[in-house]
């Protein structure tokens, strides 16, 4: 075996604290090393060409590159090695940047450590074998989880490209949070006017199958061949018959049920159509408030329904589907702001969240577009907006900035002026974050043209006095405590991941952070991909962002999915387990532990043996660690290869 070792300088990132030349010279003394050198930038074009040239010149059969983390450039160098004619698995990397040069300044120690890591890589490479990927068919169908603006964009882009799309939305209608908005910043154009048509496109698009009021029950399989089980929740209304006429919603006697879509601003009936432009425009029954289910006696909606669509005995249905890729676009939810007892903790009716205020502003909302104080229904004159309620607050575990509250509060201040010309809006803020195109001009306009009074300081307390709400805040620019007698207080409540997002992440087998946001492949370079092949992210579920960014990510995720599913066959990862039938005694331990059920028992000439289903095996190596006689070995991470790395470090 003739091994080539290339020590990368990475500019000064590595060369700064590692003597690359001496590492190369030490490497040349290692067994089977035919050629060792150090190069300035291995991953750059000239670097790769130098490697290819060296392979040809010194007839190398294996390459070790000591540079940065394999998680970033292993694919790059594997392609390089392949271009030079070698099998891409006759290649190993030593991470001498993130694990050596960047974490210590001691030149001597770093150089010694780098040479030892190279020695480990060489000793592993000497046991590498050529691996050929097999290919398997791809299901050309995409699953989009979540029907918000990001999900809609992803679905439409993918469907327009000819891909078959399944969309699963938890609520009875798609549209997500954007559908609840009255206007959007910075252009203050009507939200349902720009979202409505896209929602209709989704409903009418031949390639898109929409499952509203449904959830993903379970996901199995692997990239290109996911088996998804979708639970269609019982809406107790047969949607094939329902025409969305809304007769039942008028006649329903239970008038006191919580209106989830309108954030509980006004009471509503048990059977509802969320909002006029809902897609699908079908009624659904909230079991919790429906008298038929609670007392067993009612049935008014069944009687009045012209098409007889009501069916109280409806059960959840399950639909199984095979899909090739999944886009998670589950969006966000407002955090539970009632932890702020000093703002009333939900006890004062006139302290509302920004979304509730948005529903009051909306013409299709419960108050028909008139801003009314929930306590007595009068029109408020002094409206106070409080920013950063549940954002940038370490004491309640929400240190991050939610990103879009400054902008929508400015918009709400403009709308308040439009709806109530003689009203005064006060905005308590810490810093105005308006980074987008035309954003800062928008926040300037609200202060200059619409006379919104911006006060730089947090609010310490809100308490009712008579009919008014006393807002006790501070103006740090003036350096004084300030008070405002307000009729209505709107809280710009911070956002967090949608409820149930961590649960979905476990089904998708992607990781998530402590706030429930999904973990992207790389924060800068792979924002819409995840570490699990075939699963993509779009919108606020990956990290809070406003509508333009969410739409952009929707398209990006669709593009990524199209790239994945454009090929008919996908190469399987050859780093999977393989059974040596001579050593296997059929003790079935590997079958017992395999998380993916990728090993089955076969009968070989009367002897029970284990066999790996290559397309299902993910290469975790659990079977390899469990098999007593080492009959099953994980290619590229066999026992011997790992043992070689350990032996390279042994002192005695």
């Amino acid at each position: 075996m003739r091994i080539g070792v290339f020590i990368c300088h990475c500019g000064s990132n590595i060369a700064g604290t590692v003597d690359c030349a001496s590492v190369a010279s030490v490497a040349s003394t290692y067994p089977d090393v035919a050629y060792a050198t150090d190069i300035m930038y291995a991953c750059a074009e000239p670097g790769q060409d130098a490697i290819i040239a060296a392979i040809k010149e010194h007839r190398l059969t294996g390459v070790v590159v000591a540079s940065c983390t394999p998680r970033m450039h292993e694919p790059t160098f594997r392609k390089t090695v392949e271009r030079a004619g070698l099998n891409r698995y006759m290649f190993e990397m030593a991470n001498i940047r993130e694990h050596v040069s960047w974490i210590g300044k001691d030149m001597e120690a770093n150089t010694n450590k780098a040479s030892e890591l190279v020695r480990m890589a060489v000793s592993k490479l000497r046991l590498n074998r050529e691996l050929k990927p097999k290919s398997f068919p791809v299901t050309k169908r995409l699953l989009v989880v979540g029907g918000g603006v990001a999900g809609i964009q992803a679905a439409l882009d993918a469907a327009d490209a000819g891909l078959e799309v399944l969309m699963v939305e938890k609520q009875p209608t798609i549209g997500g949070k954007m559908a609840k908005l009255d206007k959007t910043f910075p252009t203050v154009d009507c939200s349902s006017c720009i979202l409505g048509p896209r929602m209709v496109d989704v409903a009418q698009h031949p390639n898109i199958t929409l499952y509203a009021y449904s959830e993903v029950e379970s996901i199995s399989g692997y990239v290109g061949n996911f088996d998804v089980k979708i639970r269609k929740k019982a809406a107790y209304v047969d949607w094939s018959k329902c025409t969305g006429c809304g007769l039942c919603t008028e006649k329903c006697p239970s008038k006191k049920s919580y209106d989830r879509f309108n954030e509980g601003v006004g009471p509503t009936t048990a059977i509802i159509i969320p909002f006029p432009q809902a897609i699908p425009k079908k009624a659904s029954i909230e079991r919790e408030y429906c008298r038929q289910f609670n007392t067993g006696k009612c049935g008014v909606c069944a009687k009045v329904c012209p098409t007889g669509a009501i069916n109280y005995e409806m059960q959840d249905e399950f639909i199984d589907a095979k899909v090739g890729g999944i886009v998670a676009a589950t969006g966000y939810d407002l955090m539970d702001w009632t932890v702020y007892q000093e703002y009333g903790g939900g006890r004062y009716p006139d302290v509302v969240t920004s979304l509730q205020y948005e529903r009051m502003l909306s013409a299709s909302g419960p108050t028909g577009g008139h801003i009314k104080r929930p306590s007595d229904g009068e029109e408020p004159k002094d409206v106070v907006f409080i920013q950063c309620v549940g954002s940038r607050d370490v004491s309640i575990g929400r240190p991050y900035c939610s990103g879009f509250c400054c902008m929508y509060t400015a918009k709400q201040a403009i709308l308040t002026k439009d709806h109530i010309p003689d009203s005064h809006s006060y905005v308590f803020y810490m810093d105005i974050r308006s980074p987008g195109k035309g954003y800062d001009e928008f926040t300037r306009r609200v202060q200059e043209e619409y006379q919104a009074r911006y006060i730089r300081g947090r609010v310490s307390m809100v308490y009712p006095k008579g009919k008014k709400l006393i807002v006790r805040g501070a103006d740090t620019l003036m350096g004084t405590q300030v008070e405002v007698e307000a009729d209505l207080v709107v809280l710009a409540v911070g956002a967090e991941a949608a409820k149930g997002a961590p649960h979905l992440a476990e089904k998708l087998r992607i990781s998530y952070d402590s706030y429930g946001f999904f973990m992207e492949g790389h924060p800068k370079l792979r924002p819409v991909e995840t570490n699990t092949a075939g699963v993509f992210l779009a919108g606020a579920c990956q990290g809070l962002k406003d509508i333009p960014s969410s739409v952009a990510q929707g398209s990006a995720a669709a593009a990524k999915a199209l790239a994945l599913l454009s090929r008919d066959m996908l190469d399987s990862d050859p780093q999977i387990a393989a059974v040596n039938v001579n050593r296997c005694v059929g003790c079935r331990k590997c079958i017992e532990v395999c998380p993916f059920k990728a090993i089955q028992e076969i009968d070989l000439r009367g002897q029970p043996k284990a066999e790996v289903i290559e397309t299902v095996c993910q290469g975790c190596g659990l079977c390899n660690a469990t098999c007593p006689q080492g009959a099953i070995q994980l290619s590229h991470f066999t026992d011997n290869q790992l043992l070689a790395e350990v032996e390279a470090l042994c002192r005695f």
Binding site: Q341, R347, Y463, K465, G466
Partner: protein, 334 residues
């Protein structure tokens, strides 16, 4: 020390301006079966002045209180006054740090064993005794009394050290007053500061801070503001005249919660010591009686109406058997 006996630290104001709190606390504790062993030769905990000078000094004074308690075998101490509670509790918490304990010992020159604890009387009543026991002892329920609970700013804060109820929206006093039968009005400023010990040196602080509390209570139509802290009581009750001189147009008596408990338990005037209050409480009680009467009349009217309706329904069905039943029911109700 069994669970129902505690070491008792009355606090200096108990001898003077909050005599009524002291007397009613002892009476109520005796009534609830709580034996209080006075800490022998207890000294002042230094209150706010000491800990504004130096926490080590206030901890040293508090350490002597615990040391005196040790001589009488007292480990668990209870005190009515939140200011003393704050000093004593802070002393115990901070002395867990070795250097701080050494600095305290440099002043007291009396080493202190571990295992001490200190609670407020309100906390013991609500948490250890329990409200149902309080309800059992109520003979004269305060039905018709509109009370506003006022906790003050020391009893529940800082949250990590006091560890009692919710620092922003405490409920224990509210529940206690409801157990006594009173109608408790939600009071948003229940943890706002009354001015504390600034009454004397900073003359304009109390009229402004306590004024705001009295004004809101007055606006809500409260008969009484119920307090649990001598400092707050002095600022709200004793100085109410001064505040009225500055423009407050309400008069709200400010009894201690233990006084109301003594009254509700049917104890004598001596124990309730209402006459020691600066603002006379009798108008509040007359309001209470009047409103209680109204409530009773209202209940009677509703009951009569219900009985009428039941009788009418029974008449319509006409069957003998149900008549007897509904008649019996109606009889029971009337």
């Amino acid at each position: 020390m069994s669970k129902a006996t505690f070491g008792y630290f009355p606090g200096c104001s108990g001898l003077g301006t909050s005599l009524e709190y002291e007397r009613s606390t002892r009476a109520v504790c005796r009534e609830l079966g709580l034996t209080l062993w006075d800490i022998p030769d207890w000294n002042c905990c230094g209150s706010t002045p000491a800990h504004t000078v130096d926490p080590v000094l206030s901890s040293a004074l508090s350490a002597r209180v615990f040391a005196q308690g040790e001589t009488a075998g007292i480990r668990d101490v209870v005190t009515p006054c939140p200011s003393c509670l704050s000093n004593l509790r802070n002393a115990l918490e901070h002395m867990e740090d070795e250097l701080f304990a050494a600095r305290v010992e440099a002043l007291t020159e009396r080493p202190l064993e571990a295992g001490h604890s200190v609670k407020s009387v309100l906390q013991v009543i609500v948490e250890d005794i329990g409200l149902d026991k309080v309800k059992e002892r109520v003979r004269r329920p305060l039905v018709g009394l509109r009370a506003v609970p006022y906790y003050g700013c020391l009893m529940t804060r800082p949250e990590k050290i006091m560890r009692f109820d919710d620092p922003e929206n405490p409920q224990s006093l509210d529940l206690l007053l409801q157990a006594l039968g009173a109608e408790v009005l939600p009071f948003p400023l229940k943890v706002d500061c009354c001015g504390g010990s600034l009454g004397i040196p900073v003359r304009e602080s109390v009229p402004r801070l306590s004024g705001r509390i009295l004004e809101l209570a007055g606006e809500l139509g409260a008969d009484v503001i119920v307090v649990a802290c001598p400092l707050c009581q002095m600022n709200l009750d004793l100085r109410q005249g001064q505040i009225r001189a500055k423009g407050l147009d309400y008069t709200v008596p400010v009894p201690y919660f233990t006084q109301l408990m003594a009254y509700a338990f049917g104890l004598g005037d001596e124990e309730a010591a209402f006459k020691l209050l600066a603002e006379d409480i009798s108008p509040a009680f007359s309001c209470m009686q009047r409103r209680a009467g109204e409530i009773k009349a209202e209940e009677a009217r509703v009951a009569a109406l219900a009985a009428q309706k039941a009788a009418a329904k029974a008449g319509r069905t006409g069957s003998g058997q149900s008549q007897a039943k509904s008649a019996g029911a109606a009889g029971g109700e009337a």
